[in-house]
């Protein structure tokens, strides 16, 4: 199934059956996404560790 990335509105493909807490990655913005609901299927940004390039 195809959902919309909550970050950039790009298309996100999920293989069925979809499972709760499954992680997907948006091809457009590379956000890591987590399946947070199944009825209907819903995506949210997955928690991430911020990267710091010595700033």
């Amino acid at each position: 199934m195809t959902l919309t990335c909550p970050e950039c509105e790009g298309p996100v493909e999920l293989a069925e059956p979809v499972r709760l807490s499954e992680i997907a990655q948006c091809a457009d913005c590379s956000s890591e996404l987590e399946v947070v609901g199944l009825d209907p299927v819903a995506l949210a940004l997955a928690p991430e560790i911020e990267e710091d390039w010595g700033e």
Binding site: E7, C8, E9, Q25, D28, C29, S30, S31, E32, E48
Partner: protein, 335 residues
């Protein structure tokens, strides 16, 4: 086969033109013209072409009929040559700065000399397929923008109407942008490790960027450690959030073969970085927004999408060939 000749073939841009055109399935390189090395083998100057061609450089006097003439000759020289040599080709694609600006007075302000062929200035179509594809399909005179100008134009064009008229462009460029005849300031001992601000104000590409984006562009340029590569970081003011910006970039570049939107949330390369683009014809564009502050970023290989690759892309459009032909190399990682 499209018969092509390259003038200024011994320089870095000339070498890139030869590399791309010798590997292009639809073109035949008829002549590689050089005033410095007539009679010498091309691969003695461009060693990456060993085994790819037995061609020797020709003298300018040997130039003869071809379908497309590519001019990789220096600024200020090209405008004295072109009125004479254009008769040899149906289409001329110029990579110098001499025919990028339609106004002779603006040319003189940025290049420091009066234009030698002002009557031709208005006849050139800018070599930016993303903006002028339809015009390029019928153009006999094409002028490819400068490398930093191409990066800035592609970064800023989607922002027209979303940002205020003033934009500040901070450009960083590798040493190959100085050409194959660079002077004392480009000795390795002087250049290595340097971050040289060589154009703190009034970079000559300001005029091109302003013309093609409708914005009031101001540019600074800094030479950095890299051999290849250009990156521009453009600062503007506007009310758009990142979602609006992404929509604007998708609208402009969603179908473009050589412009990629790179504004990622994860990974080691989240925004455009020229390191990944060496040898490729891609221009990566990205963005960020915070309050009324908008930053647009673009990166490309100055010798490819910033010069020779853009010229070959224009050649493909002009000659009715697939636009990506001969330009499929994706770059290297790691490099």
């Amino acid at each position: 086969m499209i018969r092509v000749c390259v003038m200024g073939a011994a320089g870095y841009l000339g070498g890139e033109l030869l590399r791309l055109l010798l590997g292009h399935p639809g073109t035949e390189v008829a002549r590689a013209v050089s005033t410095r090395f007539p009679g010498r083998r091309v691969d003695s100057v461009h060693p990456n072409l060993r085994g790819r061609t037995a061609l020797a450089f020709s003298s300018p006097d040997d130039l003869d009929a071809c379908d497309v003439l590519l001019m990789a000759t220096p600024h200020r020289t090209t405008m004295t040559l072109l009125p004479e040599v254009r008769r040899h080709a149906r289409t001329v694609i110029d990579l110098s700065g001499d025919f990028r600006l339609p106004d002779a007075a603006v040319y003189e302000r940025y290049y420091g000399v009066p234009h030698a062929a002002p009557e031709l200035l208005g006849e050139f179509v800018p070599g930016v397929p993303e903006l002028f594809r339809a015009e390029l399909a019928g153009a006999d005179l094409i002028s490819v923008p400068g490398c930093t100008a191409t990066a800035a134009i592609l970064a800023l064009r989607p922002l027209a109407g979303l940002v205020g008229p003033d934009v500040q462009i901070d450009a960083r460029t590798g040493s190959s942008g100085s050409g194959a005849l660079a002077g004392d300031a480009n000795l390795h001992a002087e250049r290595s490790g340097a971050m040289r601000v060589f154009a703190p104000v009034r970079h000559r590409h300001e005029a091109e960027v302003s013309r093609l984006t409708g914005l009031n562009a101001r540019m600074t340029a800094t030479g950095v450690e890299a051999v290849r590569g250009v990156q521009v970081v453009c600062h503007a003011t506007g009310a758009a959030d990142e979602r609006t910006l992404r929509r604007a970039y998708r609208e402009h570049y969603g179908g473009e073969p050589f412009v990629r939107i790179v504004a990622h949330r994860t990974g080691a390369h989240r925004l455009p970085d020229p390191k990944l683009l060496s040898g490729s014809n891609y221009c990566d564009v990205g963005f960020a927004a915070d309050g009324d502050r908008i930053t647009a970023i673009a990166a490309l290989d100055n010798l490819v999408k910033g010069g020779a690759g853009a010229a070959v892309q224009c050649l493909n459009v002009r000659t009715g060939q697939p636009e990506t032909l001969g330009l499929e190399f994706p770059g290297l990682h790691p490099i």
